[in-house]
């Protein structure tokens, strides 16, 4: 069976579980017995972790919750607006549809923004229109102190940990960060050998059946920032899709985060995750305990019964002030954004700043901090755009090349931003090559004597 299909019953099961929680209202009338149970969600799609069983207010934004029915469906991998009830081909590009989680509601023409939880008649006697929307998910927080990546199908997610010398452990999740059984997955771990693939070790099911593990021979008894352990997990999620590569760099042993006390927000099991608290920690595939509960209602999310606990606060201090010399290892997103909003006004100063950021991007990639790469890259593209505003100061013969180079750097930055999430070193390296070539061309255009 296709593993994507295998995951669907789990989604349905979680939705159904929600209907059976104590205190859940019995909204299921005879006419709607075939419908998924009613759920109450925040109006804003990205607040998807809020999934209540009764009306109320969104704990994040305070707006009234809206009634929806969580269901499974199928969608185009590249055209998510297309939602179908069954598997099949995408009508736009003929690719195979992928499973998604949707929220269904009904609406009437006179009040199109009103969410109605049931089909039926509108005030004018017409049938209520079914509206199907994709549910957001949004949690890339590692659950076991490892590095968290997303597969290219956007459905599977993988967390790799290195809990002790020579042991690599892979945890799998769906697109709601709900643990997946790895029993139909297969793969291996390949050690890095000076940038090339070295010895390979098979991934096998752990004793509890919940993870895949590889016993790696020949690794040192300790791991440090100076002597990191680099490896790639090559995972085959099903027979149809190609093996996918996830590159890991461990600078210390992964530590299971301690459990967090449950809070009082009622939740279903489907979007069962806490939001990442710090962008840096949430995004960075660091091997230390990574993400903290946010100082919002999201922090109140109780650990679902079947899922590991949310992660504890970060142990690293976030630099408070703006630092133009912040390095890739320390610059926070807020630092980067403050810097972006206070850019110097001259092309030479901007160029100098861009060179520093380019070095940071390079360093982050060298260090295997793929999830962190987006911070210096996003800053770089903002700097490059600012440099582009000075194009009229260049000799005319150089302007077209300079503008084209700025465009290439911006595009490469957005690619790095995405590929960092995928954790695929090859794609990151490709994008970085485009990025660094574009930077060299910008430097040649703006740095040369006028």
């Amino acid at each position: 069976m296709n593993l994507k299909q295998a995951a669907l019953p789990m989604v349905l099961a979680t939705a159904l579980l929600g209907a059976q929680l104590p205190g859940a209202p019995t909204h299921v009338h005879a006419a709607q017995q075939d419908l998924p149970p009613l759920s109450y969600v925040c109006p804003m799609p990205a607040d998807a972790e809020v999934l209540e069983t009764k009306p109320g207010r969104c704990p994040i934004c305070g707006m009234d919750l809206i009634a929806v029915r969580i269901d499974s469906a199928w969608s185009c991998p590249n055209h998510a607006a297309v939602i179908r009830d069954q598997a099949g081909q995408c009508p736009i590009d003929k690719r195979e549809l992928v499973p998604v989680v949707v929220a269904k509601h009904w609406s009437c023409a006179d009040k199109p923004t009103e969410y109605l939880g049931d089909p039926g008649k509108c005030a004018d006697g017409s049938e209520r229109k079914l509206v199907t929307e994709l549910r957001a998910h949004g949690d890339h927080n590692p659950r076991h102190g490892g590095s968290f990546f997303m597969a290219e199908d956007k459905w599977h997610h993988l967390e790799g940990t290195y809990p002790s010398a020579g042991l690599f452990r892979a945890f799998f999740y769906d697109n709601f960060t709900k643990p997946l059984s790895p029993k139909e997955f297969s793969g291996s771990v390949v050690l890095d050998d000076n940038g090339k693939d070295g010895a390979s070790f098979p991934l096998t099911a752990a004793r509890n059946g919940q993870t895949l593990e590889a016993q790696i021979k020949g690794l040192p008894s300790d791991v440090t920032k100076d002597k990191p352990v680099k490896m790639a997990a090559k995972i085959k999620f099903d027979a149809k899709t190609a093996e996918q590569r996830f590159d890991f760099t461990f600078t210390e042993f992964s530590k299971e985060p301690p459990a967090t006390p449950a809070a009082n927000t009622t939740r279903n099991a489907a979007p069962q995750t806490a939001k990442p608290a710090t962008a840096t920690a949430a995004a960075a595939p660091v091997s230390a305990p990574a993400a903290a509960p946010a100082a919002t209602a999201a922090a109140a999310a109780p650990p679902p019964a079947a899922a590991p606990a949310p992660t504890p606060p970060p142990t690293e201090a976030i630099p408070a002030g703006l630092s133009q010399t912040a390095t890739a290892a320390t610059m926070s997103r807020t630092d980067a954004e403050l810097l972006a909003s206070n850019l110097p006004s001259s092309a030479p100063e901007l160029l100098k700043l861009l060179e520093q950021r380019t070095q940071e991007v390079h360093q982050a990639i060298q260090d295997g901090q793929f999830g962190y790469v987006y911070i210096p890259t996003m800053l770089s593209k903002d700097i490059a755009l600012a440099i582009g505003d000075h194009v009229d100061q260049l000799p005319e013969a150089r302007r077209v090349q300079a503008s084209a180079a700025v465009r290439r750097l911006v595009l490469a930055s957005w690619e790095l931003d995405l590929y960092g999430d995928l954790g695929n070193k090859e794609k990151i390296t490709d994008a970085y090559n485009s990025f660094s070539t574009a930077f060299a061309d910008i430097k040649a255009a703006y740095g040369a004597s006028r």
Binding site: K94, K154, A283
Partner: protein, 394 residues
């Protein structure tokens, strides 16, 4: 590249919420807070109403309007939102807008590119929570573009009868030969097409029977006139060939649709030379999709003043260059393309026509775009890999 709509995207450190109304407040609060650095509800400093809509209206609405030739309108927030991540993927992959002339190569006429800043604004918005902006703002409705953008044509040649694409058929190619009904020789400087059903006419190739290709038409087509003093000869009683590619919107798959398009011809005076624009084709290898660089060559048997280049691609490429190597060894680039796609076959009129002597060798080099895990989409291979030059003999 990014792929899914932001509603399901898992690039979610920037997609964590779409609290449109409270975005500004939240941002300020977050920015003001020293530590810890809480997550951003919305990371995009650009919103739809103020920043994204004007760009989409000015740059994209020639096709992406309600009822238009594309499966999605982008001219309202509700329309654009589900496609946000697709927009990001298309823009970062340089697939859209479908105008692939590289600005670092020879300049060409027409085009509808986004500036780099405009591109960044849309991608930032798509990746950063897709904020709406002022909830009470009322954006103006974007009307569909007027028919015959170049003005009423001198001659309208209508398909003799409507073509029906039945229920269950989503895509179809139709080849027609249509009499012009013109009994005297004419000279054509530009050609356009007015679809009968805009929503399913995906592209069209219009030519003269046993003669040159007059237009490679795609939605948003600009009927660019051939350079002054040049034209396509339309012999007396000539027939037009019309190859139309129908593709219904995904929402219309189960609807029968009918089309009766009209070809518009714009006439001009006879060129002093009396010579028509002709075409020569250089065919590339017919191979399965590849990730290896592709190159192929051809030679001009006679001299030519090259006016335009019509490249067609069998798969997505990262870049392509079409060079002319003159008999004396001198090399001149005719056209550079970035990220050309297998769809959107079109003609690029050169701003400055180039004279090539007989014996000139044409060299085409193309670097395929990397495949994603899904491989090449099955719909890709519509056209062969080839380069056609439109020229007049000296």
């Amino acid at each position: 590249m990014a792929r899914l709509a932001n509603l399901r995207s898992s690039i979610t450190r920037r997609h964590l919420a779409a609290l449109a109304a409270g975005a500004t407040v939240v941002l300020l609060v977050v920015l003001a807070a020293p530590t810890p650095e809480a997550h951003k509800m919305i990371t995009s400093k650009y919103n739809y109403n103020d920043h994204v809509f004007p760009i989409l209206r000015d740059r994209c609405a020639r096709c992406h309007y309600q009822g238009g030739p594309t499966p999605m309108s982008l001219t309202t927030y509700q329309d654009a939102l589900p496609w946000a991540e697709s927009m990001r993927e298309q823009l970062v992959g340089e697939k859209m807008p479908p105008w692939y002339a590289d600005t670092t190569g020879p300049t060409v006429k027409g085009g509808h590119m986004l500036t780099t800043r405009e591109l960044d604004i849309i991608v930032t918005w798509a990746a950063g929570g897709t904020p709406l902006g002022d909830l009470n703002a009322k954006l103006p409705a974007v009307p569909p573009p007027a028919p015959w953008k170049a003005g009423p044509p001198d001659l309208q040649v209508k398909m003799p009868e409507a073509h029906n694409v039945p229920v269950g058929t989503q895509e179809e190619d139709v080849n027609l030969t249509i009499p012009t009904g013109v009994s005297e020789q004419k000279w054509i400087k530009a050609v356009d097409l007015q679809p009968g059903d805009t929503s399913m006419v995906r592209d069209a190739v219009i030519g003269i029977e046993n003669g040159p290709v007059l237009a490679a038409w795609v939605p948003g087509h600009d009927a660019i006139a051939s350079p002054s003093g040049t034209a396509f000869k339309l012999p007396a009683n000539a027939k037009l060939t019309l190859k139309i590619h129908y593709k219904k919107s995904w929402q219309d798959e189960q609807n029968a649709k009918s089309d009766q398009s009209i070809v518009g011809l714009y006439f001009t005076d006879a060129p002093l030379s009396g010579k028509s624009i002709e075409s020569v084709e250089v065919k590339g290898p017919d191979t399965p999709s590849t990730t290896e660089a592709v190159s192929f060559t051809g030679a001009l048997k006679s001299g030519a003043r090259v006016l335009a280049v019509r490249p067609s691609f069998d798969q997505a490429y990262r870049e392509a260059t079409i060079d002319a190597v003159l008999p004396n060894g001198r090399r001149a680039t005719l056209l550079k393309l970035r990220a050309p796609q297998p769809l959107w076959y079109r003609r690029y009129w050169l701003n400055e026509p180039i004279e090539l002597p007989a014996g000139t060798k044409l060299e085409v080099k193309a670097m395929p775009a990397p495949l994603d895990e899904f491989g090449p989409p099955p719909t890709q291979k519509r056209y062969p890999l080839q380069v056609a030059l439109d020229y007049v003999s000296p």
